[in-house]
Symmetry: C3
Subunit: 162 residues, 3 copies
């Protein structure tokens, strides 16, 4: 019986930008509040959002991997804007404007998505190339390949590449 | 009777880039010409496309909001390219090449979309944070929240994040 | 009889970035391996991926078109990263990290997609504006308008704007 099948939203989070991560997480939280299933698949730069700022394991890593880990953003609040300087608007200005309106921060939306049981997928190939390990990410993340993502996405009502 | 139900396209216009706005509006116009329903939801930087260049209301705004309004693009032709300098190609060069081929400009595609009755949604949260008001945008825009966007998108045949 | 209808994936490749092209082509190859039909529609900067590095025809072109052709990337390996310098990570560093993991390069994924018979569409309007000709692209590309793209996309199970 397929009656009343839940709707589903699948987001491919490719970008490691603060503003795009915000857009993706606002949609994820809003969809969950509408009782829509949500899967977020994080690949490439998108994985930086899932890094636990307090966990960094440099042991056994190559020189490049160590450099990469130390140079790239760790966790939501460390992400840059998609435009370095959009019409003169920098990240600190955007954050001040959000604060003035009592808008939640990116990490609040991430916490909300975790609490609401959004399904978090991390891209295996991206992790391999970047030399990141599952232990350096938030614990909810399941590491999967592109085909697992595609299966979920193809059977969803809606897919976005963010 | 669900026979002959119209197809529908839903575009989330996140970016405030000239070239991406062009892509979105070309798709919107083409879809309308095929008798496909089109909704465009403008959020974040995407809202700059909908600003009426002749309407700016600084009254009652905070210092940040005033700065933001004056520094950011007003209307279609003021948008920058997605890459500041893509392989050496700047916006003026692109515009000259478009003109040489008698290709319509961005504001022509926006006029076309308005005339063809594309549904224009503006993101409430983005407007709040940026301190923009409905009166500063083109009159067709309806201000909605993320859930209204999601309802429309989930029931569309196709969704893109631009 | 609609039984066992194949699933289909439609990708609009707008960006001319190495990392985004990689993401799109990995998805295209993975989907084909799952017996999913794949169409990739290349428009704007995305067309640079399809340029044959050995074919450039400047004859009969305007000064702008010649400049454009010579300044912009020719073929997969010439594409830049989406962020010029993401947290300090440049393209050469990313390529070294990929090589260290024996990950295939972008041109390998493009070859795979061609071999697996991904359908390649090129955007007519973009080619016209840029002054590029079909002969300067890989031979599989079919030049189509936005409506041909939309027909394919609207009837696909999944669409992404990359």
């Amino acid at each position: 019986m397929e009656q009343e099948q839940k709707q589903s939203l699948n987001l491919l989070m490719f970008s490691g930008d603060y503003d795009k991560a915000l857009a993706g997480l606002i949609l994820a939280n809003s969809a969950k509040e509408m009782d829509v299933d949500v899967t977020m698949f994080f690949s490439f730069w998108g994985l930086f959002l899932l890094r636990d700022p307090d966990k960094m394991d440099l042991e056994g890593k190559s020189a490049y991997e160590k450099m990469f880990e130390m140079m790239t953003p760790r966790g939501p609040e460390a992400l840059p804007l998609s435009h370095m300087n959009y019409g003169g608007v920098g990240k600190s200005m955007l954050l001040e404007m959000m604060e003035a309106k009592d808008a939640p921060m990116l990490e609040d939306f991430l916490k909300g998505a975790r609490k609401k049981k959004v399904k978090f997928y991390g891209c295996k190939l991206s992790l391999d190339i970047m030399g990141l390990t599952k232990d350096e990410l938030i614990p909810e993340v399941e590491i999967v390949d592109a085909q697992t993502y595609l299966k979920d996405a193809l059977s969803s009502n809606m897919q976005l590449f963010i």
